[in-house]
């Protein structure tokens, strides 16, 4: 799991950082920048996989302030910090544009200074920070540590980097064309057997399957072609029929988990049903997917009736899609969810959240989700440190931790004045009252 992410110059995120927990909740007014944070992570994931195609306008629209050309200091920068086996690591990627169709990027890795001291303060080495890389070099025989520690980070952003010794990855300063090759990922993989191997491998794993899930019932309630090895739920869950059909044949335990959870929350439904659907050549589906076997799914109730997807409520369909995302065989290491409460009855929102927490702890999955729901926020009553308040100040997004930046200092100030304040008593009410920010401005 990532401990901290830090994003610079991406869309409205001029300069934000978040100390993450296992399940994280972003709340804020519309257009405050919640989704941009998720998009920044997806951007990095696509950049790593090199399926991101930069074009003139596209890049400009990604940069804070929509600047045409950005220098190294104005680069889109994404930094991830993580503790592994008691060691603290940091990784940073910077992407910027030199001139038309020519982009550049730098990658850096770092290790915590205290880590260095703990492992390498050996008496006869007369240790000082600057000598450390040479020492590592002797042990690791690793060329990219030859570089001196990179001090730029200390200059630009003390708060996030000053606990680390940063190294520029030697061959990362490469000019790339607008449509990059598969360079980035290969580059990281080539370095993955070195000192930072575990960290880099996990970083690659985390970002290899990243998606922002926002199930759209209107898409998956229609007949869909059943595709072989369709084991992953798409962002909008449009392939739900095909996914469920594959699970039924090859991962029955996944189907069982989905059906059991659905039955627990919507008691009348006890099983799933599938039906082949004839598609005419002039239909929209045929034009989209061609000559395939199309199916639709339905829910079978305890009275022996089947309700086909088009007959089910949006809420039920959405709930089913969420269960599919949660239980899919290779769920993402980092799950991004937009408004998981959408279409769900307030009484069932608790169930959805419980599944998400269960998934996080059982499968070691980190979750970042957005919400506008008071019910969702109140679920976090005993863990306000998992909640982030997103506000827009002028053009830039500001992100605060609900506990560390808002509740704790306010309650301390109140206590100093002899007041006994409890802002966690009703998070939702206090949020709507405007005590935390993350609200639209009053007219």
């Amino acid at each position: 799991m990532l401990d901290k992410i830090y994003i610079r110059n991406f869309k409205s995120l001029e300069n934000v950082s978040l100390e993450l927990q296992d399940v994280n909740l972003l709340i804020g007014a519309n257009n405050s920048g919640k989704t941009n944070l998720l998009k920044a992570l997806v951007f990095f994931s696509r950049w790593l996989k090199t399926d991101f195609r930069l074009n003139e306008n596209g890049f400009k629209r990604l940069v804070f302030g929509q600047k045409e050309i950005v220098s190294e200091n104005e680069a889109i920068a994404l930094t991830f910090r993580k503790k592994m086996d008691d060691k603290e690591f940091i990784y940073c990627a910077e992407i910027y544009k030199i001139h038309n169709d020519l982009y550049s990027y730098n990658q850096f890795v770092g290790i915590a200074k205290n880590e260095v001291k703990r492992h390498f303060t050996i008496t006869n080495l007369n240790y000082i920070d600057e000598n450390f890389p040479e020492f590592i070099l002797q042990i690791e025989e690793n060329s990219f540590y030859k570089n001196k520690p990179y001090d730029k980070f200390q200059e630009i952003e003390e708060k996030n980097y000053n606990d680390f010794i940063m190294y520029r990855l030697e061959d990362s300063e490469v000019k790339i064309e607008a449509n990059p090759s598969s360079y980035q990922k290969n580059f990281l993989e080539r370095h993955s057997n070195r000192y930072f191997s575990g960290f880099i491998t996990e970083l690659l794993e985390t970002f290899s399957t990243l998606k922002i899930y926002q199930p759209a019932p209107s898409k998956f309630s229609k007949p869909y072609p059943t595709l072989a090895k369709d084991y992953t739920v798409q962002e909008d869950a449009a392939n739900l029929v095909s996914f469920l059909d594959n699970m039924r044949d090859e991962y029955p335990e996944v189907i069982k988990a989905i059906v059991d959870d659905l039955h627990y929350s919507v008691e009348e439904f006890v099983d799933l049903r599938f039906q082949k659907v004839d598609i005419t050549q002039d239909s929209e589906a045929f034009k989209l997917y061609g000559d395939k076997t199309f199916k639709k799914f339905g829910l079978f109730d305890k009275y022996g009736r089947t309700y086909w997807a088009e007959e089910l409520s949006e809420g039920t369909l959405y709930f089913l899609a969420l269960l599919a995302i949660i239980h899919q065989p290779n769920p993402p290491k980092l799950l991004l969810l937009e408004e998981p409460e959408k279409g769900i009855h307030p009484r069932r929102i608790k169930d959805v959240l419980e599944y998400i927490f269960l998934l996080s702890s059982k499968k070691n999955i980190q979750v970042i989700m957005t919400t506008h729901s008071p019910e969702v926020l109140n679920f976090f009553r005993e863990m306000p440190e998992n909640v982030f308040i997103v506000d827009k100040k002028e053009d830039a997004t500001e992100i605060k931790n609900l506990y560390k930046d808002i509740i704790e200092p306010t309650e301390k100030k109140a206590e100093a004045n002899g007041l006994d304040m409890d802002l966690t008593d009703d998070l939702a009410d206090n949020w709507k009252s405007g005590f935390f920010g993350g609200v639209p401005f009053n007219h």
């Binding site: 100030k413 004045n417 304040m421």
Partner: protein
Amino acid sequence: MLKTIKYGFYVEDEVQVIFLENILPQIISHLKLEDSYSFEKDSLYTSVVSLFPVNNGGRRKFDVTFKMFCEIGIINYEQDVFFLGRDLDKATIYDLEKKIKEMQEHLGEFLESKVIIFLPTRCTEHWLRYIKELKKTENQDLTQKFEEQRNDTVKKNVYGRKKRVEQAQYIHNLCQDIDIDALSQHAESFKHFVESIQIFLNRLN
């Protein structure tokens, strides 16, 4: 030297917001303190914090939450004073004093000195009714006690057939050039409000 007093507020409805904004400079003038003090609404607070009970919670919600709003205003926004406005619904000065005492006890010592409570008997429209009538009669022959009339009767009389969207501007217009002495003389709960402001300002000296 002129001292600007930054204020926040939590009230039951929009009528009280408009009334408060209009009446505060007039009270300062009435007390002949315009060279010493001026009230300034905390615009950051009023743009972010809900000024009324959320979820259409009404009076019951107001009673449960007003202390927290005072704390947020005074502690987080570092306001000099905080106004709490609520319709009393009851007609007598005994009820007024009882409710204010109850609210002050709930606020506790620290907040009490920084919070000014205004509770119109029975609702703010009763004050507006007096204002309307005083303007019409120029303070002559006003013998009626509007507190004896029900809220809906008084509201009908104040607003007539005005649509809800027109009411805000109407209240704003009505609240210009109020005869503070005359209103205090007829509406005892208003007199109490003016006195509370005076006590607060005296304390600042």
